[in-house]
């Protein structure tokens, strides 16, 4: 049995394995969000194949927000095209 199961007070130290994870989910999120941001027509989609639901809307000049439901989590991604960063109104 793991030490964590027998010691209720156990708190993972800084050396303990963390919940940080590798690339697959972030790559997926970036790919989905990017393709939606680049699509000139804002289309909300639901891809049952990847158990993924995407909602997208424009929230200000040059800034869109993409809501992605993926593997039971909801991700919110603000998308800004590189060349328009200086035109963003910080109060969007």
């Amino acid at each position: 049995m793991l030490a964590t199961a027998t010691t209720p007070e156990f708190k993972p130290s800084i050396a303990a394995k963390t919940n940080t994870s590798a690339s697959n989910w972030i790559e997926k999120i970036i790919t989905i969000a990017r393709s939606n941001f680049l699509d000139k027509e804002l289309k909300n989609t639901s891809e049952s194949k990847d158990s993924c639901s995407v909602t997208i809307k424009e929230v200000g000049p040059f800034i869109k927000i993409c809501r992605i439901e993926y593997e039971g989590k909801v991700y919110k991604i603000f998308g800004i095209e590189k060349s328009h960063q200086s035109e963003i109104d910080p109060a969007f």
């Binding site: 050396a15 919940n19 940080t20 989910w25 972030i26 790559e27 970036i30 909801v74 991700y75 991604i77």
Partner: protein, 291 residues
């Protein structure tokens, strides 16, 4: 982001020492708890573990306190974030806290993803509230200068690095730390400083500090660092940033007092003057309410 206070946490992308990581984690936690109402921007990808870098430190905190996830927004870019998060040797072996769910993605309008780390100044544009700097190299120095120029207060934390791994192999001089550099300049200022004397202070700092690894020379990222430094020094001199170092402190809790304690102040700087007046007015109102 309407009416939101947006803070930023920046710093080293090279891991701190083991002890430095613990201090960074403690200071960052104090900073977050002292600014509970704020949204925190940070570069989502980092190195976590016993020795973490600045972003990795935040990921460690999020892993331990997932309840904070709604306050954090990770900066990502379409090319480098994907490469950085792939395991070595294919990628750079960086990680992101799996609890992080809010992101700002800077993307390229081309078929290929081409946006690299450093191509995303949007986080500096959005930052409007007290920020935290954990050591930091020349890119961080440029960011901090941008923030100070906007009169955004910055808390700096130093002595997080393993010195043996953070010095130039030829000269043995420690590498530039944005936090240490700005605090050194701040401590050296006794009264109003001329441009010439400010330049001398900068030169004195670099008598025993290295900007990059001289052994690697032109084959390394020395060119990029020199370019960033040139941009920084131009901005530092032109905007007389040394006159805004009252917005810089090492103390998380006593910052309000530090920010208001102007010893060097340019009367033509109306924006800064107005900021101070508003801060003072808010404090007076709060004190009157307490009475």
């Amino acid at each position: 982001m309407k009416t939101e206070k947006v803070s930023q946490i920046v710093g080293d992308s090279f891991p701190f020492s083991e002890r430095g990581t613990l201090i960074a984690k403690q200071k960052t936690t104090e900073f977050i708890d002292a600014n509970k109402e704020n949204i925190f921007l940070y570069g989502a990808t980092g190195r976590s573990g016993v020795c973490a870098d600045a972003n990795g430190t935040i990921n460690l905190i999020l892993d331990e306190r997932p309840d904070l996830r709604n306050q954090f927004v990770g900066n990502i870019v379409d090319e480098h974030t994907v490469i950085a998060t792939k395991p070595k040797p294919e990628g750079w072996g960086c990680t992101i806290s799996s609890h992080l769910q809010n992101f700002i993605l800077v993307y390229s309008a081309t078929p290929q993803a081409t946006v690299k780390f450093g191509d995303d100044p949007i986080s500096d544009i959005l930052t409007n509230a007290i920020s935290l700097c954990l050591e930091g190299g020349v890119q961080t120095l440029k960011q901090i200068t941008d923030l100070l120029n906007k009169h955004v207060p910055v808390v700096v934390v130093t002595k997080l690095r393993e010195l043996a791994e953070n010095c130039d192999p030829i000269t043995k001089y420690p590498y530039l730390s944005a936090a240490d550099f700005l605090m050194t300049i701040k401590k050296s200022i006794r009264s109003t400083l001329s441009t010439e004397n400010a330049e001398k202070l900068v030169q004195t700092y670099f008598l025993d500090h290295a900007l990059f690894n001289n052994k690697k020379g032109a084959n390394s990222d020395a060119g990029t660092k020199q370019n960033l430094y040139d941009q920084f020094i131009k901005q530092f001199m032109e905007n007389r940033v040394w006159e805004k170092l009252n917005f810089l402190t090492t103390e998380i809790k006593s910052l309000t007092v530090s920010v208001l304690n102007f010893s060097v102040f340019d009367p033509s700087d109306y924006a800064g003057y107005l900021t101070v007046l508003i801060c003072k007015a808010k404090i007076i109102i709060n004190v009157m309410r307490l009475k």
